[in-house]
Subunit: 320 residues, 2 copies
């Protein structure tokens, strides 16, 4: 038999307060040899090499970038870290440290914030990075602001694609988009697609490998392959053509496509949130293991599929 305490344990972040929440979150964090000063001071201090610092930031808002009824706190934290780690990967680099700004309403369970932080730190630890600082504040909706810093032995930009280069991809293509389409229509399956929307699996070793192999341009596939390649084509002032027969859509993509009467290629070519990579390689380069050649670079402008414009919406813009 248990007795009620006169002061019950706090269960919401409003009850535990700002400093209590920070303590609870910091307990989820690890550290590593590069972290010279971690959370708790005015700024963190991270050891950096001679190659300069890569830095990328994302702002995630509840209802727009994630939904608490679609994904667990741990999944949301994992994805919040992954999309920033992926940006460093897409430069050919590896992240070393992240910061997290967290805004939430007072009635949020402490457990939610702690699980989110744990997912975030666990994903960061996959590349040897750690959360080194942050900020918490009250907010009507949940806001997660992520910044990652990292390093690359060789930095690969978007603007280096050359006519004659091959285009290759690595990682999932279309699976998260199919999962989003399924969730949007109230389905919770197929599991592989829904799980891919909830938690991306960026190919973190592939970015540095592509850089070492001589990739001339690279970006991650966050808005959809054609949209992201559009940025590469524009920055590099080249034309890119994609061979649609080069893809083997996963079973779960075929299932969703059939159920929704959509061409599976639509998910493969325009689905976002997979956080795979697309890069261009000189014809003389040895494309690293795990990559699939899916197209080619030519003189001109724009992105085509088998020589023609792709018939469909190719990307998301906020406020549009």
């Amino acid at each position: 038999m248990t007795h009620r305490r006169s002061t019950p344990e706090p269960t919401t972040i409003g009850e535990i307060g700002e400093f209590g929440l920070i303590d609870a979150v910091v307990r989820q964090l690890g550290t590593g040899p590069l972290v010279l000063i971690g959370p708790g001071d005015d700024a963190a201090h991270v050891a950096t090499g001679p190659e300069g610092t890569l830095i990328s930031t994302d702002l995630l808002i509840e209802g727009r970038h994630f939904r608490r009824d679609w994904s667990s706190a741990h999944e949301i934290g994992t994805k919040a870290a992954a999309c920033n780690l992926s940006d460093i990967n897409a430069m050919g680099g590896t992240a070393t440290a992240l910061t997290i700004g967290f805004g939430a309403p007072a009635d949020l369970p402490i457990e939610w914030a702690v699980d989110m932080a744990r997912g975030f730190e666990e994903e960061a630890a996959r590349v040897g990075a750690h959360v080194v600082g942050g900020d918490v504040t009250s907010s009507e909706t949940i806001v997660i602001a992520v910044t990652a810093i990292g390093e690359a032995a060789r930095v690969v930009r978007r603007d280096g694609a050359q006519p004659g280069d091959l285009v290759a991809v690595v990682g999932r293509t279309g699976l998260a988009g199919a999962g989003f389409a399924a969730l949007s229509r109230g389905f919770r399956s197929p599991k592989a697609a829904v799980a891919a929307h909830r938690v991306p699996e960026p190919p973190y070793e592939a970015g540095p490998e592509a850089a070492a192999a001589g990739a001339t341009s690279m970006t991650d596939i966050s808005d959809g392959l054609l949209a992201d390649l559009g940025h590469v084509a524009e920055a590099s002032a080249v034309a890119i053509d994609i061979d649609p027969t080069a893809f083997t859509p996963p079973e779960a993509v075929l299932t969703v496509a059939e159920a929704l009467q959509i061409d599976p290629l639509t998910f493969v070519l325009t689905g976002g949130d997979d956080y795979g990579l697309v890069a261009t390689f000189p014809p003389s380069a040895l494309v690293p293991t795990g990559w699939t050649v899916v197209g080619s670079v030519d003189k001109g402008a724009g992105v085509t599929v088998a020589g023609a414009a792709f018939d469909g919406d190719t990307g998301h813009q906020h406020w549009r």
Copy 2:
């Protein structure tokens, strides 16, 4: 005489869209020799020295950290940059680059976002730093997520204060707090106080100077002098006593204090948002020009004023 166009110029960020907004904001930004890759790629690339990278982040939410009816967009951008640059200053460092995550509703005037970005970049340029990347998204309220990176020849932490050290401050003390009190009660004067709340003037050269002079601990005064010194005392496991007669409150602080029947020392000791610095120096150190010695460090714990606990609220916590 002007004729109406059939397609009027876009005036809101919803009309201009995500990429239009990014273009408009990026046009406000400058660059410098340390910026190897600026906005437009997956991540920015910043040259860094051998001393490692300082990193700090802040999450600012409309209605909690700023109000559009109290401050202009330019002022809000200036302050958003200043509070992060101040964190790097408080480590003894100088910021080199910032990122900005910006969330806003579709009906926000483009001009507001552009003015905010201009204020942000101009403040960054005061220390030679530039905005190198960011993220924009739709959001019901305005959200500004700021991250700064920087470097220090000598990093000063919070945990190095020693018994026998002197305590010294530099920069405004109490002026922004008095301005906040005035604005909160519907006043728009005294101007010096209200302006101080809107736009801090962090003493950006003082952090590196204090580090070079041998400061044993340092922090910026963002939550109020006593609250921020409380973190130093706790991290350093020392007692700190402040001499209230060491301060000369500015005229505007006296004016607000008299109007509101509040002890002016309350603003000086507990007012936030001034972004001055407080540091401890060994008795043998030459305290740099511009600093005022206001107290001393002893064995023990906690922060006292003339040997006694200060009678008043000493700091702000979110959700409390």
